[in-house]
Amino acid sequence: MAIIEVRDLDFFYGKFQALKKINLDIERNRITALIGPSGCGKTTFLRTLDRMADLIDGVSVTGRILIDGRDIYAPGTDLLALRKKVGMVFQRPNPFPLSVYDNVVYGLRVHGLRDPRALEARLIRSLEAVHLWDELKSRLDENALRLSGEQQQRLCIARLLAVEPEILLMDEPCSALDLAATAAIEDLMAELKKRYTIVIVTHNMQQAARVSDVTGYFLLGELVEIGETRRVFTAPRDPRTEDYITGRFG
């Protein structure tokens, strides 16, 4: 059953319509990749899923997004709980300028967990899940900004996993990383998919083809096509999708 259902979603920045009548279902424990040229609404769409998009002044949203059957745009929605459940990994790794320890337990503290032993247990589990524990267990007091780019991005993922989300939104998580680091993060995503639902925005079609189960193609604010990744890449139904994936433009 779909964990995220999007129905007739329109999104405006002032008068500019960034998303046009988006309809899609996202299945649990799968990786859904959103591809398309820049400025076509992929990131905006991603940010509507944890209500980060409407933090900006002057935006308006119509339509519905149901997560686990509940409309997250309904009045009275608990945004803090929503963002705990739907985590975001950003384009550039953005660890806080705090120690590794403080970074990973940040979300837990924010949500009221104080017991040091419980924090420690979650810390270890989260760092192990992103394969950083062995590297960092003796460096927990070090400032996270001193880590390498890949380590920082892993740390940001660990920071999310610590609060036990269900959905991970990833906004071009590898765009600031080199090839080896990208491959490592992609491997990590394949592992994480067993426990989480992942939605990834990527510029990189090869990446979408490598990691995702489902691919959606955004163009000028429209979701042109969405389907099983292999099918979209081998037999696109919409000529615009075909143009894009065959490299005719974009």
Partner: protein
């Protein structure tokens, strides 16, 4: 024929350029040399008497009776410390709260209203602050708490207001310099705005905020006119918040007009002490903000 002519024009331009550079250099150095002259002059005039009477009796002596050759600066040092601490106790919480509101919570319209007002606050001459203190604050303190009204408390409150623009504008800069990605990362984890401020932005902007406090401190230590008008100026160690107090700056300003001989030298010595305090504060402020720039 065309070649040498062109080169000639180039040479002239180059010569002009060198001249302008030289002129600018002279101007720049004259600003520096003013500082040098002040330093040399104050130290030259103020230190001999300190050696003559001994540093200890000068700095730690608690009697200031210039006519009887008693030059103890301790009451004024304590006075400056009290008044400065009081100003910080009032100015820092208000200033930081204001900075946080301006950067994190206020809508554009509110910000557009508050910011110019704060900048205006910085432009008000200190005699006006002193005047407000004398006609409003001092009588109020006298009526409500007793005592002469001219007091540590009055001076602290007025100086607390006077350092607000410094504290606010520098900590606003520090908070605005925090990359937006930290804010986003925190909000995306389900943190509230306030949690974000407290747990991420403050640590990230810490050195800038400390610099704002230290510069505010420098302003409070150095303020003279308002202090003279509202602090009461008794050259004795204040026994309470309601007692009158004299600061180092007041000491110089009050007596320089008629002082001669050793009395005059003692006032220069007061200036030396003040100078050292301000230098130390500025050095600390520079060091903390330098550390911020160097941080990754």
């Amino acid at each position: 024929m065309a070649g040498p002519k062109k080169a000639g024009a180039g040479n002239r331009l180059e010569r002009n350029d060198r001249l302008i550079r030289l002129a600018l250099l002279v101007v720049a150095f004259s600003a520096v040399s003013v500082l040098l002259v002040i330093t040399v002059f104050i130290v030259g005039q103020g230190t001999p008497i300190m050696f003559r009477y001994g540093f200890k009796s000068f700095l730690a002596g608690s009697d200031w009776y210039p006519s009887e050759k008693l030059f103890g600066l301790w009451p004024m040092i304590v006075g400056s410390l009290f008044v400065t601490a009081g100003a910080l106790a009032i100015g820092v919480p208000f200033g930081l709260s204001c900075a946080i509101v301006l950067t994190e919570f206020a809508s554009k319209r509110v910000r557009g209203l508050i910011k110019p007002v704060i900048e205006l606050l910085a432009g008000i001459p200190s005699v006006v602050y002193g005047f407000m203190g004398v006609v409003i604050l001092v009588p109020f303190i006298r009526r409500t708490f007793g005592g002469p009204g001219l007091s540590v408390l009055a001076a602290s409150i007025i100086l607390g207001v006077m350092i607000l623009p410094t504290v606010i504008s520098i900590s606003v800069d520090a908070l605005q310099a925090v990359p937006p990605s930290y804010r986003e990362g925190s909000i995306a984890l389900g943190a509230t705005r306030w949690q974000t401020v407290k747990m991420v932005l403050f640590p990230a902007a810490r050195s800038g905020i400390i610099a704002s406090i230290i510069l505010g401190m420098g302003r409070a230590v150095g303020e003279t006119m308002a202090t003279i008008m509202i602090a009461g100026n008794a050259a004795e160690i204040p026994r309470s918040l309601l007692a009158p107090v004299r600061t180092l700056t007041s000491n110089v300003a009050l007596e320089m007009g008629y002082a001669t001989g050793e009395h005059r030298e003692a006032l220069f010595a007061t200036g030396v002490v003040l100078f050292v305090i301000i230098m130390v504060l500025n050095t600390i402020a520079n060091a903390t903000s330098a550390k911020r720039r160097k941080a990754p």
